[in-house]
Amino acid sequence: MRLKNTFYVIGGGGAFLVFAVPLLWALFRSVQPNDVIVAAPDGKTFFDLTWDNFRTLIEGPGNLVRAVGNSLVVAISTAVLTALLATLAGYGFARFRFRSGPVLFALVVVSMMIPFQAILTPLYLEMNVLRLTDSLLGLVLFYTTVNLPFGVFVMRNSFASVPVELEDSAHVDGCGTLRMLGSVLRPLITPGAATVALYAFLAAWTEFLGALTFLTKDELYTLPVALVNVQAGAYGEINFGSLVAGSVIAMIPCVVLYVGLQRFYVSGLASGAVKG
């Protein structure tokens, strides 16, 4: 027992450092001026901390503020739309019997197994025809689709665990389908919907390949794609200070949402939220 505790303290402490230090280090780097970051460490200047990197991001030519705004708009819209559509579909699949039900549900499940990375080319051509490339709306629709199968799955299970009797008595009181969803069922399925929204937000916020493919205009770039421009020195010389400050901004919502809503995140993992 003693030995096990020693192992826990040493192993846990060591692993804590391995996982926490690089993230804290990035935070520290973001308040170092660019010329210190690119130089060999020198004790005299190493701790000259400044907000310059963040100021450059806001005032500089890269217009990262706009990219953050784009990312926020896309991620929030994706979260709301995914949760809404998944809730409606989850209710339909869990409670209603209709002829095409099983086939349609199978369709949604099968689409879970098709990685979007593998259908990117035809998807790009189709979105082009629909005028959804170079459009934040297009990106939202795409991200919503990527997150929907898992969302429908979670919401179907949420509704299935609510007793049918509850709906019957509300129906006797003259409650229609939408009011049923909005008032009687809402408190019971909120945890499921929160899980779906959380995953959709984080997936949209961190997604890279799709945004890189579907967006070509600077002013529409989401944060990860805008950071590629910073990294490539598209705005003059490469500014590592801006790059690390932008990365820190990209991390903040992930850390805050995960730490704050861990309960929902973990329950999503159990339902197969992550595909790789």
Binding site: Y8, R95, F98, V152, V244, V266
Partner: protein
Amino acid sequence: MSTAVRGARRRDSGSRRAASAGRRVGQGSLTHPSRTGLLLVSPAVLFVGVFVLVPLVFALVISLTNWPLIGTVKFSGLKNYTAIVSDAAFAKSVLYTLLYTVIVTGPILVLGYALAVLVRRKRRGSTVLRTVFFLPFVVGLSTLSFVTVLEAQPDSGLINIVLRDLGITDGTTAWLVDGPLATGLICVLVVWAVSGLTMMLLMAGMQAIPREYYESAELDGAGWWKQEREITIPILRRTIAMAVIISVIGSLLAFSQFYILTRGGPGTDTTTVVQYIYNRAFVQLQLGAATALSIVLVIVVGLVTAAQFRLLREKD
């Protein structure tokens, strides 16, 4: 089989399903009319249809043509597929992706398992540890890759400074312009970033194993490793396979960390399959060829999933 019999069957299975759901909610249900059901699911089904199934079918069509961005589309039969066989650059990207997958899968599982063992029981600090171990995964590989870019710089990056101070290198290594070095760096980054996911998946399984199993094993004098080998691993075989499948699929589809850190270079030395297809489609604009490669990728990822599930079932 006659339609009447089939119809009766369907009704039968329908009512059985409804009965198992608690009570009858069949087609004639007043509270749950079937048309409302169809209406409720149709937006989601429409999305999946338009953005997953249409592209998939479209892919089959495109892959049989030359499909230029400008100009007339020419049917080319199976030419795009037969060309894959002699496409040395594609073969290189496939081999590279497989190599990468082979390198990272083991360490991700071992590290993820070790972390899960560390935090599976409720102890002082275990919740904090769990959160911290999982944070890199939540932050995501693309953001972590951007940070790695500056820490991999010669003379100034943290990686080089630490290695120099440990006396291992002289601190001038240019990690990102050398194939093997960049591969090594990316593998370390990925193992660090995603083993938290394996930890979470395994931990959930471990917590479901009754404690008595371990207590009686301890009475029999079984040590820690013996308990893991004879209790945890056999019980968790499915969960472990699941975690491995998820990590293998992620590796086969790897893109952002390579794109950000090396752009697939130097030359095409670190070009993964997804990046190769991306280049063919969006840099060289050979959409027909790229789509044929995509279909190969869909099939390969599908087969890996199926093969691993099969392996899992056979062992039972």
